[in-house]
Amino acid sequence: MILKKELDMSRNEGLENLGSEERRHFLKMGLVVTGLFAGGTLLSLSSGARRVFASSGEFAEKYPYKPHYSMLIHVDRCIDCERCKKACAKTNHVPDYGYRTTILERDVSGALAGKREFVPVLCNHCNLPQCTRVCPTRATYKDPVNGIVQMNKSKCIGCLTCQMGCPYNARYFNEEQMAVDKCSFCWESRLSKGEALTACAEACPAGVRIFGDLSDPNDKVYRGIHQIEKTVWVLRPEAGTKPNIFYTRG
């Protein structure tokens, strides 16, 4: 898997190669780019909310959705027990041959974390999703209210264009439903019924997956991402889709 291979490299390569547009995007969100890893695959960000915006209220308005669902993943806490994946499969009827979320594994030598690191991945519910742009029938779309990237399965013709367009390998073809399936942050199965957490976040015994509302300064996700001096990054920022899944350590 390309993503996995790219994750194997994590040397800071400096900021010279980072486009100014990319930098501006993260700055708008109150995050200052501090390092660029693996040719832009991993982007490290450090919270500069206080520097960029006068008040957190003003800052919150920069997030386009309400709630703006997001997940912060404490990657060094993951032990690959895969309870998240199992809970997801059970909750959302995901067959064995597919996944809505999975765990990648990479070798890290010399790092404090030990010799391996497990990296949970799922749909990034991108702000500029490539998948919705290329879908010929608009079967996949971004919810204008909460930003969740959804599937209207009755419109899906199974052409898999969205799957090819997605830089995060977040879609699979569900043979039973004869449509593409993907993570919906458990909208149908949980959030729309009043649950606060996705099945994966609830099932995790290690506090890896922090799920919440990035537009709410009192939310755990917001606070986790905007901690001063904390390094936070996203996967494959060079794809330009403005992902909403953030990663950190500690």
């Binding site: 060094d76 027990c81 765990i103 594994e105 974390a113 010799k115 391996r116 497990f118």
Partner: protein
């Protein structure tokens, strides 16, 4: 000492029968699968490389029989933080603390399936 050696050999036998050990004059690799899948304890590292003897752990902390600890209700991270099981040494002083470097011991579902010789595709079918 002779008795201890014999017990260790027996242990190796038991663990092999349980399908979770490689050969050696100790318990080999022990894969704990509860409460989470999975944690790898290496006798190679602890006995051969670090030089601990059987009594270091098998004198109150762990039974000789592989899998016995997992039957106990208190085989949890909380117990480790309180100095039980691995936490007797993995307390941040003798060895790195149990609430750090998670993936050093946690091999995960992936590591366990590799040890069982399962492929990734087969691993997801269970």
């Amino acid at each position: 000492m002779k008795n201890v050696t014999i017990i260790c050999l027996l242990l190796a036998g038991v663990a092999l029968v349980a399908g979770s050990a490689t050969a050696g004059d100790h318990g080999g690799d022990i894969h704990f699968t509860r409460p989470v899948e999975a944690v790898l304890f290496s006798h190679d590292i602890h006995v051969d490389q670090l030089g601990f003897d059987c009594d270091s752990c098998h004198d109150g902390l762990f039974e000789y029989e592989a899998g016995a600890a997992e039957q106990n209700g208190d085989f949890t991270m909380e117990s480790l933080y309180g100095g039980g099981y691995c936490g007797a040494c993995h307390d941040g002083e003798t060895a790195f603390a149990s609430d750090t470097r998670c993936a050093t011991c946690h091999e995960g579902v992936k590591g366990y399936n590799r040890a069982l010789g399962k492929t990734e595709t087969a691993a997801s079918h269970h």
